[in-house]
Every structure is written in C-alpha cells, then in structure tokens.
C-alpha cells in the first residue's frame, strides 16, 4: 500500500471544557470510502470538520495529502482547495445562481478562465443529473437538487478527497435516493470519501471501512461485513439495532 492520503493521530478537541474528541486515530488510503456513524453528539461531525480545519484540533496531528494542518494559513487554503465538503444544510450561496455557485471557487481560487469553469460546471451538473437548473437560484430548487448542486460545487475544484457531513439528514425521504445515487456513482469512480451518515444501505454498498463513534471515541471499526455481521462491542450492537429496526 502506498502512503495514506489522510493520517490522523490522537486528535483531541475541546469546546470550552467539553471534551468532544478524545484521541481519534485514523488512516485513509487513496480511493477508500469511509463511513462514520454513531449517536448524535458523538463527535463524528466535529471530527470530519477538523480534516479541513473548519474546527481546529488542539492536540495530535492531522496530515492531509502530505501537508500537516497547523496555524499556517497558506497550508489551510492549499489543503481546503484539495478537499471538497458537502454539508447537511447544503449551504449553497443564495445570492448566486447554481452555475455561479459552482464556478465561484474555480474562477477565484484556481484562476480558471470563466469559459473553462462554466464548461466544467455544466458537465458536473449533467453528472449529478440537473443540467437544466444551471441558471436558477438555489432557493428555487428542491432539497435534493440543492444537495446535488452542493456536490457539484465541491467537485468543481477537482478535489482529491470528499467529505460528507450527514448529506441526507435534512432531506425529505423521497429525495434521499437521488443524492445517494450520486454519491454511490462518485464512490465507484474511485474518489476518496469520508461520509458521516446513518444510511446503512449506502455503507453496505460502497464503504470499505466503517467507524462507530461514541462520546468522542472510536468504539469499533472494521469492514461493513464485520460491523453488520459480527459487531464486537455492545454499544455498536445496541446502536445498530436501534437504527436498523425501523
């Protein structure tokens, strides 16, 4: 195996006196799809947000694509432009059209000419299945469409890694599938992905490894077969039984 693209060692994070991450270690290889799940407040969102430094970790080391995350702002911009992120609440820019949302970062960060950025953006919109919405504003789209635009926006920077922070949790049930389909297609294309989700069907279909978080710690990790077929920890069993029974 080659050098891992993400290396985390003993990552700690406090919010005031609350100890949110109590020493997370993880290595992710290029092309791997990692699913992180666990009860709310377990630190899973906080953890993936430390990977592009939307949250600063206070102890331990995080190395992404060979760059260690430190206070050096130049490092942060370099790392962030290689990592795409998709949020639970989509967070599209409401004052820009779909096309402008997608082309913004390529034009201003990558310094692409506008024509090239728009060409790439239209291709991405086609890939996520909504090329006809290019000139609408985010507020005119459904939740599922907005989330697919958000994925296209992240992909427009041609990132090496994609982070998904509960991408389907804010969606109506009938829209979850359209977003998951896009994510599955992306996983199969070889993208390195770290996904915080409770969509166990998705995990079973494409995840290489799964991590169960609880109270700021990795309780258990393993392949989907291990986790679903043969969970070792009681807490994992309990949590899985709670989310899989209905």
């Amino acid at each position: 195996m080659s050098e891992p693209i993400i290396i985390c060692q003993d990552v700690h994070k406090w919010f005031g006196s609350f100890h949110a991450l109590k020493g997370i270690s993880m290595e992710v290889q290029k092309g791997e799809v990692i699913v992180i799940f666990g009860p709310s407040g377990s630190g899973k969102s906080t953890f993936i947000r430390t990977l592009n430094r939307l949250e600063e970790h206070q102890r331990g080391t995080i190395i992404v694509d060979g760059i260690e995350l430190t206070h050096d702002t130049r490092n942060i911009h370099a790392v962030r432009s290689e990592i795409g992120m998709v949020f639970q609440q989509f967070n599209l820019f409401p004052h820009l059209t779909v096309l402008q949302n997608i082309t913004l970062a390529p034009i201003w960060v990558r310094k692409w000419p506008k024509d090239k950025a728009e060409e790439v953006a239209l291709k991405l919109l086609e890939r996520v299945g909504i090329p006809e919405q290019a000139h609408k504003y985010p507020g005119q789209l459904s939740g599922g469409q907005q989330q697919r635009v958000a994925i296209a926006r992240a992909l427009a920077m041609q990132p090496k890694i994609m982070l998904f922070d509960e991408p389907t949790s804010a969606l109506d049930p009938e829209m979850i599938k359209e977003v998951l389909d896009v994510m599955i297609e992306l996983a199969k294309s070889g993208m390195t992905m770290i996904v915080v989700t409770h969509e166990m069907g998705f995990a079973r279909a494409v995840a290489h490894r799964m991590y169960f978080f609880d109270e700021g710690l990795v309780v258990e990790s393993g392949t989907p077969d291990d986790i679903f077929g043969n969970p070792k920890e009681d807490r994992t069993k309990l949590f899985l039984s709670q989310i899989l029974t209905h």
Partner: protein, 499 residues
C-alpha cells in the same frame, strides 16, 4: 366512484371587484365605515379647496419664479451655468444607457463598460462642476525635457547619448516583460513604458543632428534604433529565461531599479523647476461659492458616495479579530454617533484646518462635506454590521471549505448578502443625510434653504414665506421620494429567494 379527469384545469373564481366594487366594499362596507368616509371626505374637500385657493389666487409665486436661477445655483457664475446643464445631461445619458443595457439581456461586457462609466463619473462631475486646469502642449514637452534632459542638454546635443542609452534600457526591460509574462497588466505596463519613453524623447528627437558620414538626420532615427536594439536584446533574453518563475517575481523590482537608473542617467541629478503655463480648459469655480440646489445636491452626493465605502470598512473593522483595528473602529463609530451632526459640522469648520498644514487651505464647503461624510459613515457602519450579523456562519464555512481566502469570503459571500439584507435602512440613512444637508446653513453655507431664506428677506418679496418654504419642501420631497422608489426597485431587482 371515479373522478373524471378533464383536460381543463379548474381556474380560481374571479375575485376582482372593479373600482365601484372596491369603493363599496372598503368605504361603505358598514355604517361606521360610511360615516368615517363621509367625515374624512368633507375634511379633505375643505382642506384641499383652501390650499388650492391660496396657491392659485393669493400666493405670490414671484418670490420663487423670479429667483429660480438664484435658488438653483446661487453664486455660481452665470456664464458657466451651462456646465451644470451639461452635468445633468451627462447623468441623464448615463442613466439612460444603464437602463437600456440592463434591460437588453445579459451582455456582460456592456454591463462592465456601464459600471466603468459610473466609476469614472465622479471625476467627470468634478471636472464639469469644479473646473479643470490643463498645461499647454508646449509646457508638457518643455517640462519633460527639463526634468529628463536639463535645458543645457537640449542645446548640447552631444549629450544625447544618455537619452539613447535610456531608451535602449527601457526597450530591453519592456521586451523581457512583454515576452515573459502572460499577465495582461504586465503586458500593458511594458507597452506603456515604451510609449512613455518614446514620447518623452520626442521633443529632443525632433532636432536634426549630423550623424554618420556627415549625413544629417533627425535624432529620432537614432532613438528608434536604440529602442529597437534594446527590444530585440530583451526578447532574446526572455527566450532564454522562459519558464523561470523567479525572474517573474523579480520584474517589479527590476522596473524600480530601471526607473532610478533612468532618472540618474537622464537628469544627472540636476532637477530644476519647470515652467508652468497652464490653460484653464474649464475655469475653476471654488466650492465656497457653490450655493442653492447645486450645493444641496453636491453635499448629499459626495457624503453618500464617499461614506458608503468608509462605512463598510468601519463595519468590517469592527468585526475584525485584530484588537487594535477593532478598538479603533469602535471608538470612531461611537464617538461620531455620540455627537450631534451640528456639532460635527462646526468641528469640521474649526478643527479640520488645525490638523492640516497651514498652506493647505481646505475650502469651507469641502469641510462641510468631510463632516457629513464621517457622520454618515458611522451610522452606515452600524447598519452594515447588522447585515453582516444576519449572514449565517454556515455560509462562511461553505466558502472556506472551497479554499477561498478570508478576503474573498468577505467580498464574494458575506458582504453581498449582508448589503442586500440592509438596503432599506441604508437608503433611509441616505434620505436622512440628504435632508440634513439643510443644517449647513448654520455654519454659513448657502444651501437651498439658506438661499430661500435670504430671498424672502429682500424687500420686494417680503411675506412670501409660505411660498418659499413650500417650494423647498416640495423639492426635498421629490428627491427623497425618488430615492425611496429607487431603493424599492433595487430591493426587488436583487430580491433573492432564500434557501
């Protein structure tokens, strides 16, 4: 039982009432409504008749009509008044073009030109209203010659080797710049440098000089040759250095060195005082004699246009994480907001000259403009801060996650959303400062209201108080209402469906 599916979609029932229906429903719906309608109708009728009778029969409108010119521009010289007309015409034309371009589809390029026109418009307005002083062509060439070659050099042509050398160096570096960089501004800089060098040497180059083999030829030939050889050498060097990023970074420094070398080479350190021989293309009209509507509008326009960017900067500074910047901004905002506008106007008149060197005499109108600008800026800062707080933090996170720097996050994501949210209060502040321009009368400036007051003190117009104040009131109302209308249009135009 199955419902029959018809092709025709059911339409909502017609609920439009028509004029009579509306009147009946809203004015005579109940006996109380009927009573109120009758009473207020009678009241309005009596009032309206009284006002109309006064305005048509009794009012002495001559106080206004005879003094329209004074009220409009006061002491602005009459023979220069056409410039004010030209100003209005320029603004109308620019507005018309803007309207046409914005209406006529998505031509991004045309829009950029129109925006450029608006950005340049302050300069045009200043030139038109204030005036402009231009040096004559002969002065320009003379002064260049003086600065760059010294007068004796112009005579002692044997020293032209300096100019030749200078041109060769400029040509060389320009060529390196042009060939090495793809960046447009550097290409423009290179061409501009060559053009400037060529034009500077023109007065000298026009002189004839015995050249090779005793043949007489204008110096220009030698200069052109020097420039050409320099360019050729530069291009060759650039080809050799292709792809060397460090040279690109060193370019600005190289240019700085070259400028110094040129000055030393060309002037031999002896820079004299050139002959100044300006022509007044448009005679200067000092702001201190601007008055009437002209002054009112000038004060309002300048304080609005200048305070807007300052207000935004203050608001951003107040949210800064740097304690010094933040503290200074808070201090500025709170001090200015804690003082009445009248006090600021007096302070600007009295204090401003204290901070500036003696010979730098600031015009009284300009002082008032400064006062009103900082006053408006402080209030705008607080309004904009409100807008900044309304932008959700998730927007900032999303922008950061794309790799945008903090400056870009602020400029592209936060500010546009923040300003959109606070258009109504910003416009309110603008309307308010427009009306507050009437306060400058207190520091002795003759705005519309002050001119009006002095007119009705004249013997022949004594007693025309109501007419004059009504005229001023209507003027203020029309402009203020126009601003509100514009605000509503902008809101509608930028109205974005929230996600």
């Amino acid at each position: 039982m199955e419902r029959e599916v018809t092709a025709e979609v059911e339409k909502p029932p017609v609920t439009e009432l028509g004029v009579i229906g509306w009147i009946w429903k809203n004015l005579f719906g109940s006996w109380l409504n009927t009573l109120l309608t009758l009473i207020s109708g009678a009241f309005l009728f009596v009032l309206g008749r009284a006002v109309l009778t006064w305005a048509v029969r009794e009012a002495n409108w001559r106080a206004v009509t005879n003094n329209l010119r004074v009220l409009a521009w006061g002491r602005y010289p009459d023979d220069q008044a056409w410039r004010l007309g030209a100003t209005v015409g320029f603004l109308l034309l620019l507005s018309l073009i803007t309207w046409l371009v914005w209406r006529g589809g998505e031509e991004a390029r045309a829009r950029r030109y129109v925006l450029g026109g608006w950005v340049l418009s302050p300069a045009v307005l200043t030139v038109l209203i204030y005036g402009v002083r231009l040096p004559t062509l002969s002065t320009i060439s003379n002064n260049f010659g003086y600065y760059l070659f010294r007068p004796d050099v112009l005579i002692a042509l044997d020293e032209t080797w300096r100019a030749t050398m200078g041109l060769a160096i400029v040509g060389l570096l320009s060529a390196v710049t042009l060939c090495l960089t793809a960046a447009r501004r550097w290409r423009v800089a290179g061409i501009a440098a060559m053009a400037l060098a060529a034009s500077l040497t023109l007065p000298l180059g026009l002189q004839a000089q015995p050249w090779i083999l005793g043949l007489t030829a204008p110096l220009l030939l030698r200069f052109a040759l020097a420039l050409g050889i320099g360019y050729w050498a530069g291009a060759a060097i650039a080809r050799a250095l292709q792809g060397n990023a460090r040279v690109l970074q060193a370019l600005p420094a190289l240019w700085a060195v070259v400028v110094v070398v040129l000055i030393v080479l060309l002037t031999n350190f002896e820079v004299g005082v050139p002959r100044v021989d300006p022509v007044e293309a448009l005679p200067i009209v000092q702001p201190s004699i601007w008055s009437g509507i002209l002054l009112t509008l000038a004060l309002a326009t300048v304080s609005i246009a200048v305070s807007f960017p300052i207000g935004i900067l203050l608001a951003l500074g107040r949210r800064s994480t740097l304690p010094v910047v933040k503290g200074l901004c808070i201090l500025t905002i709170e001090i200015i907001r804690g003082v009445p506008l009248i006090t600021i106007l007096f302070m600007a008149q009295v204090m401003l000259p204290l901070f500036l060197p003696l010979e730098f005499n600031v015009d009284r109108v300009l002082r008032a403009m400064v006062g009103m600008t900082i006053f408006t800026a402080a209030y705008l800062a607080e309004i904009v801060r409100g807008g900044l707080q309304a932008v959700r933090h998730e927007q900032v996170e999303a922008a950061r996650s794309l790799g945008l720097s903090e400056v870009l996050v602020t400029g592209l994501i936060v500010l546009p959303q923040a300003l959109r949210a606070v258009i109504p209060p910003i416009m309110g502040q603008f309307v308010s400062i427009f009306k507050d321009t009437s306060l400058v009368a207190i520091v002795g400036l003759l705005d519309l209201l002050a001119v009006g007051q002095s007119v009705i003190k004249a013997r022949e117009y004594l007693g025309a108080v109501r007419e004059m104040y009504l005229f001023a009131g209507v003027f203020y109302f029309i402009v203020s209402y126009g601003m509100s209308l514009a605000s509503r249009r902008i809101e509608k135009r930028l109205g974005v469906v929230e996600s």
